[in-house]
Every structure is written in C-alpha cells, then in structure tokens.
C-alpha cells in the first residue's frame, strides 16, 4: 500500500515537478491569506498557559483589570555615603515622569511609571500618625513621651525597651516588632547624637531629623546598616505587554544611568520581573546569536562534507520553511495565537524536520551516485528512506498529539501545533523536497550539460559497517548487550538521584544584575521583590488579612489601604489615649502667648527647659546612668535577636553596643564623651531647647482626631490601593525567596486559608510549574504508549515494536544518568527537551528497523553502513545545534543544550549498538527473494561508489 503510494508519488514528482512546486506555492499563498485574515498574535504571558478557570489566573486577570498593573521594579543604590544615596534618589524621583514605553501597535509613546515610592509619604503620617497606631502601642507611647526632657525620656526609652523587647520574648520573633526595634534604636541613637554632634548651626536640622526618626521613622527605604537604599517603581502597564514593558524598562534604565553619571561613587541596579525579563532577553539574544551562527556554519560544513552537494542544505532549509509556513494557518485557525511554549515551534520543527531531509537526501544521493535517471533515483529514495521517514514522523507527531489529553491548555496548544507542524513538514519533505531535487537536476543538466550519474556519494563511515558485521556474531552481540545493560543499570541508579531545581532564579545567568540585586534585597531587607497580591471586597477584609499575614514568619511586609484606615471602632478606642498624649505634649510648648495686646505686652508661660541655661548635675548623672542601662538593653536585645535569628536586629545591636566587646560600643563611647565634657549641662540644655518643642509639636500634629474614612483619604493613597469599582488591593511581600518552590509551597499553604485568591507573577509561575510537572509525567507516559502503538501498527510485529523502543528507553536512562553524574539538575528550561528526545530517540530506531525488515538481519553491515550513516548525520546536526547553546551563560539554556546533546548521543549509541545486537539475536536470519535481489544490487552499487570515491 505504502510502496504503491511511494511509486505513484515518485512518478508524479519526476514527471511533473513544477506541478508539485506550483501546488506548494499555491498552498503558501492560501496560508498567507488565512494568517492575514484570521490573524496570529504572539501572547507570551504566563497567564495564557494556565487553564482559564485557574483561580490564581482569574485573580491575576481581575487585578490587571481593576488596578492596571501587577508588577513592580526596585531600584537599589549602594556605595557612597547616606547623603549621596539620598541625593541620587531625590534626583531620580522627578525624572521618573519622563520614562516612557512605546506602544507596539501604534508606535506612540506613553508614560511608563504609574507611581513610585522613593521616600515615604510623611504628610499623612505626620497628620494622623497616632490614629494609625494600635491602642496598646499608644499606651506605650503615652508612657514613653510623658516626660520629654532628656533624662526622663532616656529613662522611659529604657523602660520601654525592657518591657517591649526583653521581657516579652515574642517581640523580636515578630517581624513588625523587629522592624519597630530597629527603627526605635536608630531613632534613639540619632537623638542622643544631638548632644555632642550638632553644632550651633546644625542643631535645628539635626533636631528635626531626630524627631522624624523618633516619631515616624526613616523617610527613606534604607537597609538596617544604611548600606543600601531602595526605591519602588510601579509601571502603568502589565508585564504581559512584553514588548512595551521592555521598552519602558530600557527608558527607565536610561534615566537612571543619566543621573548616575553625577554619582560615580554609587552602584545602581534594578530588579523585579520587568527588569529580569529585559536582562534575560538581552542575555539570551547574546547567547543564541553567537550559538546560532556557529551551529549554522558547522551544520553547513557537515552537509557539504557528507553529501558533497552545495544545494543540499539550501533545499533542506527551503523545505523546512515551507513546512513552517504551511503550519501557520493551522495555528491561526485553531488558536489565533502563539503562546510562550508554542512560540518555539519553528525551532523545534527545524530540529526535527531537518532529519527528514537528511534521510531522504542520503538515500537520494546514494541512488544518484550510480543512476542517471532522476525518476528512478526518487523512487529508490522513497523505497530506501520513505518508510522510515514516514513512521518516524508519525511516531513523533502522535507523541506530541497525545498532549491534547493532558487537559492543560499549554500542552494542548503545544501538542496540536507540533503534531500538525511535523505532519505538514513531512508532506513537504515527501513532495516539495524531491520536486526541488528534480528541478535542480534538470537545471544542472541544462547548465552544465551533465547527464550521467553524479558519482558523488555520501561520506562513508566504515566503522558502522564493521560494527554491523561484528554484531552478527552472537558472542559479541551478547557482550554488547551485557555491557550496555550493566552501564544502564549503573546510570539508572545515578538517574534515580536526579533532582529538580525548583528555584527559577537558579536557571538565570549567575551574574545577572537583577538576580544579584534580588538576592541582596531579600538578604538586607528580608523582603522579596516579587510579591503576591489579593483583591478583596471590603477594607475590613483587607484589615483582617493584613493582620493575619503580618503574624506569619514567611511574610516580610503587608501593604493595604487598611494601614491608612483604622476602623471607626478602632478610632474610637484610640481617641482618648491620643488626647492624653497631645495634652502631655502641650506642657512642653510655651503657652499663653498673647503678643500684640495693647495692655501688658506679651504674656507667656515658658516650660522649665526653655528657661534653663544648663541642666543640673542630677539630670546629667541620670543621663550617664541611663546610657549604661541602654547599652545593657541593646546587648540583651541583640542576644535575643541572635537566638531568634533576627539577623538585621542582632547586627544593629552589635554595631551599637559592641556586642561582647564593649570597646566598640557606640553607646558607651557617647557616654564617655559626655562624661568628659565640661560643658555638658549647657549642651544638654541647648539640645533640649532644639528638640523638645519640635517633638512636642510633632506629637500634637500627629494627634489629629479628624475621623479617617475612605472619603478623607488623600487621592494618591486611595488610587494606589482602591480600584474604581471599590475593591481593595492587598500586597504581600514574602520574607523568603518565593522563587524557591519549597518556600512557595509553604507560602501557598499559609495564604490558602484567606478569603480571596492570592496571585502574582511568582504565584502563576509556581502554578504553571506544578501543573507542567504533574501533567508532564502523564504526557510522557501517554507519548511512550502512543509511540509503541504506532510501532506496532507500522511493523505489525510485537518483536519489532519492542526492539524499537529499546534505544529510546535505554538512551533516556543514559541521558538522565550522565546529566546527573555531571552534577546537573533538571529545571523548568531543560525539561522542555524531554519531548524532543522522545521524537529524536524513536526516529533512529524506526529507520534501522525498517532497514532490517526490508533487507533482513543478515544484511546488518550494509544497513548500518547506509541507514546508520544517515543516523549519525542527523544526530550530528542535532547535537551541533543543541551543543552550541550548552555554553550559554543562561544556565537554563545551557542545561537544555547539554541535556539534548547527551540525549541525542545516547539514543544514537543505543541505536547503532544495542538495537543491532538485540536484533541480531532475536530476528531470524532468513533472506527473502527481495532481500537477496536488493543485496546484490546494493553491493554492486556500493562497490562502484566506493571505487569512485577512492579515485
């Protein structure tokens, strides 16, 4: 049946090649028309790979709809002084307005930065800071600020530290309290420094800074040691608009670099998904660019060397392009888009489709070497290689087609696209490619007046023929099988140790700036730059979630509108304490100033500290004693921090107290300086006059009792958290690395009980990886089953089908074993190579088995000589293509390159060693008439060819 079809096809192609090529062109025109009419979009969103009904995907879509953006960029500044870093970020802040992205469709530019946080919004905090504080904390503040003179305040601070952080062991184990302890200690130190550091001219500025630090904390987002300053930038567009995002990030990077020229002492980097995507693309382009050029040159050289034909690679490429072009309308009609996975279909088709051309070309070149009749050569080509190519293509196509049954959209699309692509490339290879051979041959005859056989042949590999002869000796075949099985058992044991790298950042280039900054931000701020989000209906819901998530050690920070909006019940409970704090602060401000009255002039009552020229000895002594106590408290808090693994707090306490070596204590150094200062009383008095009124005023300012509601909330805050539809955005920053699959699983577990669905880029990635992992296993098993059934149908012989599976199964074990032995892990990138190996691995076996079936096992040397040679060539081209990316700096790409190179080599080795050895033992050595005729013919042809080649 198949032979008849091949004969008719050969007849048609050799007599009417232009009809075939005309039909091909017609089909191409129709293809272009369909793609034009139907449209074919590139949708490279992770979201598009997930099932439509996936809760995380739905929640992500909803957030994009409600709040426009779902990503963030972090700018990290290091080096120089604190002032340098502040100067830099203050200069960058206004320039963020000029950052634009270019719309892919219209070409117009639009603003890229929706909003940014370069420093905290202190206006709202200054006005309502106390109302935003919990009642228990307000009570502590009331006690703390009951006396504002230095001795009283320092004593109260010590009481506060002891009660809050030493006697309550939970304090330092909770993240929010750790942050509070760090902020408090930094504030206290800045305030204490005022006594000796601030000179006359700077005293007011220093007092303002100290009061800010003591009441609202640091305005800038500094790390605990002030070594790194970060700013956050939220884009106007979502990362799924990839091209726009990349242009926006490039524009942002240009603005940042412009400012950096004025601050050469600073190191500035950016991270976050948009930056990661841009840098990843740049690295990949660089890796792929060089790799592609090298591999193309090598493959071209191999073709010319192997087939002695300059036209062979050209025709093979044209054939592949035709196959790809015919596939496009199928994709357009079926899905109307290419997704993140199917976008690679052309590369995969080239990888697999080139093998069809090599097998056919090898057979055609062999025939053409002895035969001048092109039609006969085409017939022989189909006869020799047609069955193998068709079966090989069908097994691969079916292996991909079964992905439809996984139920995962990403796999379904990949399956349909690749299965149809392979079938269409096969059709092109069986029609267009031979037609081009005929046309080329006619052109050659007309141009060069050559009509005879080419005499050229495929490059011989004598070792293959010899190995075939050796395999026919049972003892050697058994030895080969035994050695192979032993090696496979060893590699199988190694393969069992294979692990999966669940941290996606581990597959990125190790020195990519965004990856490095990501890790440093996580380390210094204990906050993951890639966050998770939820959209909830009410502020109360947002409040409950915020409260609950803050208690979890997996969480670094929770951001929601509820942080700015206490409930009315909470506001009512807080009001009396706030009033008391304000009343107390009032005592420290001059009262009764009635300047301008006609009688009596100004009448004012000034608090004691304002009138004192210097503080008394007793107060000085108390301050010195309290500094001792402060040092002890800081030592103890540091120890608690160390035990509780609060590294940032422990490090700060060591810096301030000197840890176990008090010689390095900043607090004791201050104490010593104060003790020695003869003008201490006067200095304290001056310092008190500088900071107390500011502190008292600040406390009064912060004590506003104006009811807080959504209506009174400033627009820029409301816009950040509340959608037009009135829904509330809760952003959860993990304290752990969410790219690590194990941590992500815990994070998912921790957020699983919440009322809404947690989403975010990392969450989606995790969902996808989980689904790909579970469905991928099903897909692999289905593909193996399907391949076996195809072999069974093709050969109608269980023995052939079973032997056909051997190279793939053994090669797979070898691939995984050697990969693991080399110390590599599987990851999200390199597992994509597994379906390719299924396709490639089975092809080699199919071609050899067809040869054995056609010629009989006794002709194994000849089969290996001809078919084996084609297998070596196909494997070499594939290995060159994949091997060229094995040295990529992108670790995911490099891993995939190495894995596939190993896979191709292993499957080839199993096909030319194990399969012939097993076949020689299990298949009978009878020769049918056809086989004998064919043997005579091939032997004669080969002898002639080789003598010509040798000449």
């Amino acid at each position: 049946m198949r032979e008849k079809l091949f004969a008719r096809l050969a007849q048609l192609i050799s007599t009417r090649p232009w009809w075939v090529l005309g039909a091909c062109v017609l089909l191409l025109a129709v293809s272009i028309g369909i793609v034009e009419v139907r449209g074919l979009k590139m949708e490279t969103r992770i979201l598009d790979l997930l099932p439509k009904e996936d809760p995380a995907a739905l929640a992500y879509e909803d957030i994009l709809k409600q709040y426009d953006s779902a990503s963030q960029i972090i700018i990290g500044v290091e080096g120089g002084s604190r002032t340098d870093k502040i100067g830099f970020i203050d200069k960058v802040a206004p320039l963020l307005r000029h950052v634009v992205y270019t719309d892919r469709e219209t070409g117009k530019t639009h603003r890229y930065v929706k909003h940014s946080v370069t420093k905290l919004d202190t206006d709202y905090m200054t006005a309502h800071g106390l109302m935003l504080t919990t009642r228990p904390n307000l009570e502590k503040i009331e006690t703390l600020f009951s006396g504002l003179e230095m001795a009283d305040l320092l004593s109260a601070y010590n009481d506060f530290l002891e009660m809050e952080y030493i006697e309550d062991t939970s304090a330092v184990t909770e993240r929010e309290k750790e942050d509070g302890a760090i902020s408090n200690l930094k504030g206290i130190m800045l305030w204490l420094d005022g006594v000796t550091q601030a000179t006359e001219g700077e005293r007011a500025t220093h007092a303002s800074r100290a009061v800010d630090a003591m009441t609202i904390g640091d305005q800038y987002l500094f790390s605990q040691d002030d070594g790194m300053l970060i700013a956050m930038v939220v884009p106007t567009i979502s990362i799924d608009k990839m091209e726009e995002t990349l242009s926006g990030v490039e524009s942002l990077r240009a603005e940042v670099q412009k400012v950096q020229r004025d601050y050469p002492q600073l190191s500035v980097r950016m991270t976050g998904m948009p930056v990661l995507s841009l840098e990843e693309m740049e690295v990949t382009e660089k890796d792929m660019g060089a790799g592609t050029l090298v591999s193309l040159a090598l493959i071209l050289a191999l073709f010319v060397l192997a087939f002695r034909m300059w036209t062979a690679p050209l025709l093979a490429i044209v054939n592949l392009l035709v196959g790809i072009a015919w596939t496009l309308p199928v994709i357009a009609l079926a899905f109307g888009r290419l997704n993140l996975m199917t976008a690679m279909f052309a590369i995969i088709l080239i990888g697999l489709g080139i093998d069809f051309a090599i097998h056919l070309n090898a057979a055609y070149a062999t025939a053409r070497a002895q035969n001048s009749d092109v039609g006969e050569c085409i017939r022989q080509m189909f006869s020799q290689a047609g069955n193998g190519v068709v079966t090989g293509a069908m097994t691969t196509a079916v292996a991909f087609a079964v992905l439809i049954f996984t139920g995962l959209d990403a796999f379904i699309e990949l399956g349909v696209v690749l299965a149809s692509g392979i079938v269409l490339t096969l059709i092109a290879s069986m029609t267009v490619l031979p037609a081009m051979y005929v046309v080329t041959e006619r052109a050659r005859r007309r141009l060069f007046k050559k009509t005879g056989a080419t005499g050229a042949a495929v490059l011989p590999i004598p070792l293959l023929e010899k190995s075939g002869a050796l395999m026919l000796r049972p003892f050697l075949a058994i030895t080969v099988i035994a050695v192979t099985v032993a090696a496979t058992v060893f590699l199988g044991m190694t393969a069992k140790r294979a692990t999966f790298e669940s941290n996606m950042l581990e597959i990125e280039p190790a020195d990519m700036p965004s990856v490095l900054l990501h890790r440093e931000v996580l380390d210094k701020f204990e906050i993951n730059p890639d966050f998770a989000m939820m959209s909830v209906a009410t502020v109360d819901e947002a409040r409950q979630i915020t409260l609950r998530m803050k208690k979890n050690r997996l969480v670094g920070r929770v951001d929601s509108v509820s942080e700015y909006l206490p409930s009315s019940a909470q506001q009512k409970r807080r009001a009396p304490v706030i009033k008391a704090i304000a009343r107390n602060a009032e005592h420290y401000l001059p009262t009764g100033v009635t300047s301008g009255l006609p009688i009596g002039g100004a009448i004012a009552s000034f608090p004691r500290y304002m009138l004192a020229e210097e503080t008394g000895r007793e107060a000085q002594q108390r301050i010195i004693e309290e500094l001792n106590r402060l040092n002890m408290n800081v030592v103890e808090i540091g120890q608690m921090g160390f035990i509780s693994m609060k590294n940032r707090l422990a490090a700060l306490c060591t810096t301030l107290s000197g840890g176990r070596d008090q010689r390095f204590s900043k607090i004791l150094a201050l104490k010593k300086a104060i003790e020695k200062d003869e003008k201490l009383g006067r200095k304290i008095a001056l310092w008190q006059r500088a900071y107390i009124p500011r502190l008292a005023e600040r406390l009064q300012d912060m004590a506003s009792l104006t009811p807080l509601s959504m209506e009174t909330l400033p627009g820029h805050i409301r816009d950040r958290y509340v959608s037009d539809a009135g829904r509330n955005l809760v952003t959860i920053y993990a304290a752990v690395d969410l790219w690590d699959g194990n941590r992500m699983a815990l994070f998912n577990q921790a957020t699983g009980h919440l009322s809404g669905h947690v989403t975010g880029t990392v969450v989606l990635m995790d969902r996808l990886m989980t689904l790909v992992g579970s469905r991928g296993k099903v897909a692999t098993l289905l593909a193996l089953g399907a391949v076996f059934i195809i072999l069974l149908i093709d050969f109608r012989h269980i023995g052939y089908a079973l032997v056909g599976m051997l190279p793939l199964l053994f090669g797979f074990v070898w691939m995984v074993g050697i990969f693991t032995l080399m110390g590599h892990k599987f990851d999200a990138a390199n597992v994509m190579g597994i379906p390719l190996i299924l396709g490639i691995g089975i092809d080699d076996a199919v071609h050899l088995l067809h040869g054995i079936r056609r010629e009989g096992i006794a002709r194994l040397p000849l089969i290996l000589k001809h078919t084996g040679r084609a297998l070596v060539l196909t494997s070499l081209t594939t290995a060159i293509a994949f091997g060229s990316i094995a040295g990529a700096s992108h670790r995911g790409l490099a891993g995939m390159g190495l894995l596939l190179t190993l896979g191709v080599a292993s499957c080839l080795l199993m096909s030319i060693l194990l399969l012939p050895a097993v076949a020689a033992l299990v298949f009978p050595r009878h020769k049918n008439k056809d086989a004998l005729d064919a043997e005579r013919s091939i032997t004669a042809q080969t002898a002639q060819t080789e003598s010509e080649v040798n000449k």
């Binding site: 006697e167 002890m632 120890q639 160390f642 176990r660 752990v736 690395d737 921790a750």
Partner: protein, 260 residues
C-alpha cells in the same frame, strides 16, 4: 429423675454461659484502655523526679537559615521547675532560662550584662527564643494531668502501631491550644507524635519524638522535631546525654542562683 436433673444442668449451663460472656466481655472491656489510662501509662514510663540533659537544638527558620545551639537542661518534679543554660555558640554562652510553677513564672539571665529579667506571663504561649517550641510545650508536665479525651482509633506512625488520642486541655493544661491529637505507641506507651490545633481548630504544629532510650528505667526520646505547620519553621532537639533521678538542689531553680 432424669427430667429433674436435666433442668438444673441446662440452667447451670446457661448460668455459666452468661457468666463466661460477662467475664470475657469484661476482659475485652478491660483490654480497651481509655485515653486517661494510656496517658497515665505513658507518664509512668517516663516518670523521673529529676533530669539533666545535654542537648543540641537546631532551629531552621522559614527562610532556610539555620542556627544550632548547645545547652544543658535541668528539670525537677514533672517539669514543674526547669533551668536551661546555653553552652554554645559564644554569642549566647551562659544565657539561662528559669521556669517555675510549670512555666507560670519565667526568668532570663544574660551573662554579658549580668542581669536577670522576668519574662511577661503572657509569654507562656510564645516561642522559646526563636524555636518552634513554646514555654507551654517546654513546661508541659504529666500528659495525664494536662490532657483528657478519647481513643479515636489505631494508626501506624513511623511504622509504630499507635493509639490515636483526641485530647483537649484540662483545667491544669496549657491554655494556648484548643486540642491536640497524640499518637501513643501500643507496645510501650511512648508518645510518638503530637499534632497541635489552635482554638479555631487549625493545625499549628507537629511534634515528632523518636529514638526512645531507657535511662535507668525511664523511657526518654533522644530526638524531638517540632515543625510549624504555619510557616514551615522547624526545631530539632537531639539529646546527647541524659541523666535521670539524680540529686539536684532546690536552690538551683532560684532567681538568685541564675547569676552564679
């Protein structure tokens, strides 16, 4: 005669039959231990008047950071009094924690400042110095006095056939948990696993105890693993050396003794 004699024999047989059933039933009923009895047997197997244990505590934070401490721990009267001293690393060497009245009163001693601080009573249900154990867990005395409940079935845990007990805290028991499920070995009444639930019925953490050894007639686990089911944090305590029923002075468990 025959007739007359058969009736009493039948009656006698019936009587013995019923008696046998009752006895057997009683035996069966007696074999079905109650939760209280199981807990009591466990307590008896682990009963020690005093203990002195050298142990290594490894805390694995949710972020994956790991810190290992070496310590010596003394206890007296079913954990009514306890004293733990850190031996390593150097940053915390000499730090002590004293618990009295089954954890109602807790003191910390800091050698670097030579100060003793009383820990707030609210800390009972808080984590002990960053570990996944709470003071409540550490001070837990006799299980049979702290917990009461029912036998919910049999189950294998770590290949050990166990009673699965559903327990709630007694009036003397810890206040920080709503309930627990405990798995107690059927063969030797050692507790193999405890699953803690909060007052809202959500799982909070899991304690696994293994490597039970007989120390002078007292069964003691040499490996404790407490896993937080909320954030994945883990604390592993490995006993290096244990002594039981040794002479410990009452003064060891006093605030003034901490500074010595």
């Amino acid at each position: 005669m025959i007739r007359q004699s058969t009736v009493p024999i039948k009656k006698l047989a019936l009587f013995f039959g019923i008696a046998l059933l009752l006895v057997c039933g009683g035996v069966v009923a007696k074999n079905q231990l109650t939760a209280a009895e199981i807990l009591k047997k466990g307590d008896d197997a682990a009963k020690a008047n005093t203990t002195k244990i050298y142990l290594t505590q490894t805390v694995i934070a949710p972020s994956g950071d790991t810190r290992t401490f070496k310590m010596v721990s003394y206890a007296m009267g079913d954990n009514e009094k306890g004293l733990t001293e850190y031996l390593a690393p150097s940053q915390v060497k000499g730090m002590k924690i004293l618990t009295l009245n089954s954890g109602d009163d807790i003191w910390s001693y800091f050698p670097s400042t030579n100060r003793v601080r009383k820990i707030a009573s609210s800390a009972r249900n808080m984590k002990v110095q960053g570990s996944d154990f709470s003071y409540d867990d550490m001070a837990m005395g006799r299980m049979s006095e702290s917990w009461a409940g029912t036998v919910a079935g049999d189950e294998k845990v770590n290949d050990i056939l166990c009673y699965r007990l559903a327990l709630t805290p007694t009036a003397r028991g810890p206040k920080s948990y709503g309930r627990i499920t405990a798995w107690v070995s059927k063969s030797n009444f050692t507790t193999v696993r405890v699953l803690y639930f909060d007052k809202f019925g959500e799982q909070r953490k899991q304690l696994d105890m293994s490597d039970y050894r007989d120390i002078d007639g007292v069964k003691m686990p040499f490996l404790y693993t407490m896993t937080s089911l909320v954030d994945g944090g883990k604390t592993i305590m490995k006993v290096a050396h244990a002594e039981v029923n040794i002479k410990l002075s009452d003064t060891l468990f006093t605030e003034s003794e901490l500074k010595k």
